[in-house]
Symmetry: C2
Subunit: 236 residues, 2 copies
């Protein structure tokens, strides 16, 4: 079993080629193989995937709707470079919606769901102890998948899609402003949340979730880095 919680397209198939490209680029962004600010020219993307610029462009447009790339008129597309203010808004949004999602998920959670969550947690822990870039990237994804799975359990496809966007953008923010070496320190917190759900301590679970998000945010250094790339960079 590969990447779990992806849901994929149960439909007849991969609707159009652009979707695949979009997904591939998104994955690369979320796993931080593409750094914020990297230029994604339509021709390059097209060549890379052996498709025409038309499809490349469509994929980039789609990613722009999700806030993962920003397209500037007549200048091109770049991996999004969230400002500190954007970063704050992203986490404010998560604090706003995740407790609600948690409540809805708890209301309809099944033993099978809990088992799956635990499995995810185990995987996450295993990756944490492993070495290497590959493991690190997988860990980043697994950490987000926990939140995504809760959204999936909640049964609300709209909130699920919204959470996918928020988690992806969070990854960008952490890549930019994160300080701690550990990609997502709060591994144990995930476990605590599951435990609280199992014990029907709903309010406590929400509290834990809020703390968890706060912890992630506390690890950020949200200060305007004005690139300082000219004189200042050599003045020290």
């Amino acid at each position: 079993m590969k990447s779990a919680a992806k849901a994929a397209q149960a439909e007849d198939s991969a609707e159009t080629g652009a979707q695949q490209i979009r997904d591939a680029i998104r994955e690369a962004i979320v796993e931080r193989r593409l750094s914020p600010g990297t230029k994604l020219s339509e021709s390059d993307v097209g060549n890379l995937f052996n498709v025409s610029r038309t499809l490349a462009r469509a994929a980039l447009q789609a990613l722009s709707y999700e806030g993962l790339v920003s397209v500037e008129k007549n200048r091109g597309a770049f991996v999004a470079y969230p400002s500190p203010d954007e970063a704050r808004q992203i986490f404010a949004a998560r604090r706003l919606v995740e407790p609600g999602i948690l409540r809805e998920a708890a209301a309809r959670i099944t033993p099978g769901d809990i088992a799956q969550l635990r499995q995810l947690l185990l995987e996450e822990g295993r990756l944490m102890s492993e070495r290497g870039q590959t493991a690190r990237r997988a860990e980043i994804k697994a950490s987000g998948d926990f939140h995504l799975m809760l959204a999936e359990i909640s049964g609300n496809a709209i909130m699920q899609r919204f959470m996918e966007e928020l988690v992806a953008r969070s990854s960008l923010v952490i890549a930019l402003y994160g300080q701690s070496t550990a990609s997502s320190c709060g591994h144990s917190e995930h476990g605590d949340i599951i435990a609280a759900i199992e014990n029907d301590e709903l309010d406590r679970a929400c509290q834990l979730m809020l703390h968890h998000i706060a912890h992630i945010e506390a690890d950020l250094d949200l200060r305007e880095r004005k690139s300082l790339g000219l004189k200042e960079a050599f003045e020290l």
Copy 2:
């Protein structure tokens, strides 16, 4: 002053022609000049706006991402026809996020904002008493603008965009499943919410908001209409 709460593109200009088409079609959908299920072929859209299919397609793709149109592979784009279940999810999402938005908005609201909200309310009331399709459509939009303006006041652009999507899709749902003749009965409820905010009765304001959403939802008749278009339609 025209449609208020639109924010528009403060940037240098209308980024690309596709955006304009997208906005025009979205407005038509939200104002219910386009009914759910209406086919939007790329050629027709292109001809209508005197642009190539390329731009028409881009606009439709964008609308598809917002959930306002659904594109079916090799079949075309249609104005979205939300299922009863989708409708429930849309309103569940609103119940989930709107109280939170309200809280954030209340925390940073200014007297000027309140004045604007009141103005919006006045306009809404004026339209309610007016006759004619045009007034009806303007009323629909004004009713949504109240919720949108709260999101704008909250200062969170992400939540604002999300609310824009939810409000637009709500309009589709109401068009499909709404029963009452009044487009949005709860006009007075908007006023009550503002009053509660002014009096710093935050919890009450949230309660009112939840009731307001519940009222809108209560006006829906969410039952699978299976088109019953052949025999059944004449058998009664």
